[in-house]
């Protein structure tokens, strides 16, 4: 069974939909890259998946459950890292981790062990009592990442994860993602860093003007575009040129 399953999802902010009949699924242990130009609908797709927007049509299931069927179980099944870190200015780093543990019902001993490991991995163990106003953008992003990994859900939804992170932070994030997918979790990651997506993602979904233009492994995409040696950058540019050409003809 797919961990995340979107079937013909149509939706947007107004009556004019941003997403049109978007369908894809993510299975256990898969890291999926959601790629597209600015305004292609990546963030809108993510907002629909995390339940901040209701689809105008189609269904979204996480572990077989839709949001309306069981909101609590649906929300417990994923954690989300937004593009712009959203922290509580009134909470310290430790309190952010504690709050996440409370919300996701993590036992105290497991919380202590997991948070210690994450703090070491992201080199934040000396900043437990710091408030967000003292953090750089990269540090704020690390707090979001640690909170997301602390919950250990079956699905991780990550919007532009590399923005603001230093090279060590990026490596730690990728290591964590590899470890989680090896344990059977699924990851939906939206990014513009195509080289990293090409290297680490099991499958790529190319989103353009609110529709899935192509999806599959790198070799599937190369076959679909008829370019056997192309990089993801080349395929991405080919897709946008093709779309522009279609519009003109």
């Amino acid at each position: 069974m797919a961990i995340l399953d979107l079937q013909d999802v149509t939706g947007g902010y107004t009556r004019k939909p941003v997403l049109r009949d978007v369908s894809f699924d993510i299975r256990e242990g898969e890291l999926i890259g959601l790629i597209g130009l600015n305004g292609a609908g990546k963030s809108t797709t993510i907002k629909h998946v995390i339940g901040l927007m209701n689809p105008q049509g189609g269904t979204i299931r996480i572990n077989g459950v839709t949001f309306s069927e069981d909101p609590e179980l649906y929300r417990k099944s994923f954690s989300y890292i937004p593009e712009t870190p959203v922290l509580y200015e009134e909470l310290t780093l430790r309190e952010h981790l504690e709050l996440t543990a409370m919300a996701y019902g993590i036992p105290q001993d497991i919380f202590e062990a997991r948070s210690l490991e994450l703090l070491k991995e992201f080199r934040m163990e000396k900043r437990l009592k710091w408030y967000p106003s003292h953090f750089s953008k990269g540090m704020r992003q690390k707090v979001m990442i640690m909170c997301a990994f602390l919950a250990e859900p079956s699905l991780y939804i990550i919007d532009e994860p590399f923005v603001g992170l230093d090279p060590l932070g990026i490596r730690s994030l990728l290591d964590q993602l590899t470890e989680r997918t090896a344990d059977g979790a699924a990851v939906l990651m939206s990014t513009h860093v195509l080289a990293t997506a090409e290297k680490h993602c099991d499958r790529i979904i190319l989103l353009h003007e609110g529709q899935v233009r192509a999806a599959g492994t790198m070799s599937d995409l190369r076959k679909a575009f008829g370019r056997p040696d192309a990089s993801l950058d080349d395929l991405y540019i080919a897709m946008t040129e093709e779309a522009a050409h279609e519009r003109l003809t």
Partner: protein
């Protein structure tokens, strides 16, 4: 240069519209009614005091200190924006076209306070036999001129020193202002002349220094942002202000109310909301101010009926503001994704507001024991605070559900 003149004009128009937008809430808000009552009571007490003024009060000094103090704080209103540090950088030579208008507005916006203090002080000065009608005219003219000098000097000082040591500058101007005003009232024209000359020399010195330094965009933009944030914070007491970025303080002295969490036993929303209430300056200080005001009211208002109304009005204001502050916040917060029932946050906001209002009622009761002794009145005052708070919380909660 027309561009900068137009830029000021357009910004000033938007600024006035923004002020009007929020001031309408301020002047119709429930706190304004409390303020109106307080001003009325203070006015009445002042007029009673004037009928039989105590002997030997240094009235001239008091008037000089109050007026000079109001004039010394002359923070420039520049309406500069963060992007100006990039886009206005090549226009630094022409910038006086813009800052000149900014300082004119600063002057006119700051002038009413010292003039108002002067008008309020007039009956006191007259009661103590200071001055005469022509002298008061001279005094008013001097106040206007001194305000102009204060505004120009503070701007020049800030430009020259990037704002460092501005309180020293204000202290010097304050001292000079006090001597000038006191000299006029006391008829010591020599002191007035010397202090005024020193003030003018001080102004010229900083104007010259400022002319040698580049315009400190970072300082003036930060100053402007802090000033507007102060206004938004004030307006937020009356209505929800979307621009507001709440400031946060640790307040570790209230650690008792924020115990360490046991993640298995503590409720996430309770944990979060308690810290939000205690550590967010806006919510905490507003509640504390209203609670102290209520306690002060029962201590000093001699008529129990008035005290009951006062306590009730403040309990209403404090409960509604606490609810609004806790319900407000960013468009997106991570707890919106937490796996718990939708109504959990609302229920915890309701509960926390109830608890803090209980504390307010206890403070009112305790304060009321001082003037009223061991009687039923203090308990009734606490009960009024409790009933009004509870009714406000429940009625507002129902409104939201509908």
């Amino acid at each position: 240069m027309n561009g900068l003149r137009d830029l000021w004009g357009s910004r000033f128009g938007k600024y006035v519209a923004e002020l009007q937008r929020y001031l309408q809430y301020v002047f119709t808000g429930h706190l304004a009614i409390v303020l109106l009552f307080s001003i009325g009571a203070a006015g009445y007490a002042y007029s009673e005091w004037l009928k039989d003024v105590p002997e030997g009060l240094p009235a001239a000094w008091i008037a000089a200190v109050l007026i000079a103090g109001a004039m010394a704080v002359a923070t420039p209103v520049t309406l500069l924006k963060p992007a100006d540090s990039v886009y206005l950088l090549p226009l630094e030579k022409e910038l006086p076209v813009y800052t000149g208008r900014a300082l004119t507005w600063t002057f006119f916006s700051k002038l009413p306070l010292p003039v108002l203090l002067f008008i309020v002080a007039l009956p006191m000065l007259s009661a103590y036999g200071f001055g005469s009608r022509p002298l008061y005219g001279v005094l008013l003219a001097v106040i206007i001129a001194a305000e102009w000098l204060n505004v120009r000097t503070e701007f020049a000082f800030r430009k020259a020193e990037e704002g460092h040591g501005v309180w020293m500058d204000r202290t010097i101007r304050f001292a000079a202002g006090v001597l000038v005003l006191w000299g006029i009232l006391a008829g010591s024209w020599l002191i007035t002349a010397v202090a005024a000359a020193a003030f003018a020399a001080y102004y010229l010195f900083w104007t010259k220094r400022a002319g040698e330094k580049p315009f400190s965009y970072i300082h003036f933009i930060e100053l402007e942002q802090n000033r507007m944030m102060g206004f938004y914070r004030f307006a937020n007491y009356f209505t929800e202000v979307p621009h507001l970025k709440g400031t946060v303080s640790k307040r570790s002295w209230l650690g008792l109310f924020m115990p360490d969490a046991n993640v298995e036993r503590t409720d996430a929303q309770r944990f979060l909301l308690r810290r939000t209430f205690i550590r967010t300056d806006e919510s905490f200080w507003l509640w504390l101010r209203l609670t102290l005001l209520a306690a002060g009211g029962v201590l000093f208002i001699p008529f129990p009926v008035v005290a009951f109304i006062f306590v009730g009005a403040l309990a209403f204001a404090s409960a509604i503001q606490t609810l609004q502050t806790l319900r407000g916040g960013d468009e997106f917060r991570m707890d919106m994704l937490f796996p718990h029932a939708e109504e959990t946050r609302g229920r915890e906001i309701f509960r926390l507001t109830e608890r803090v209002q209980w504390i307010q009622a206890a403070a009112v009761t305790a304060a009321a024991f001082i003037p009223h002794g061991w009687s039923l009145t203090p308990l009734l005052m606490g009960a009024v605070a409790l009933i009004v708070s509870e009714a406000t919380i429940r009625l507002t909660g129902n409104e939201e559900k509908e």
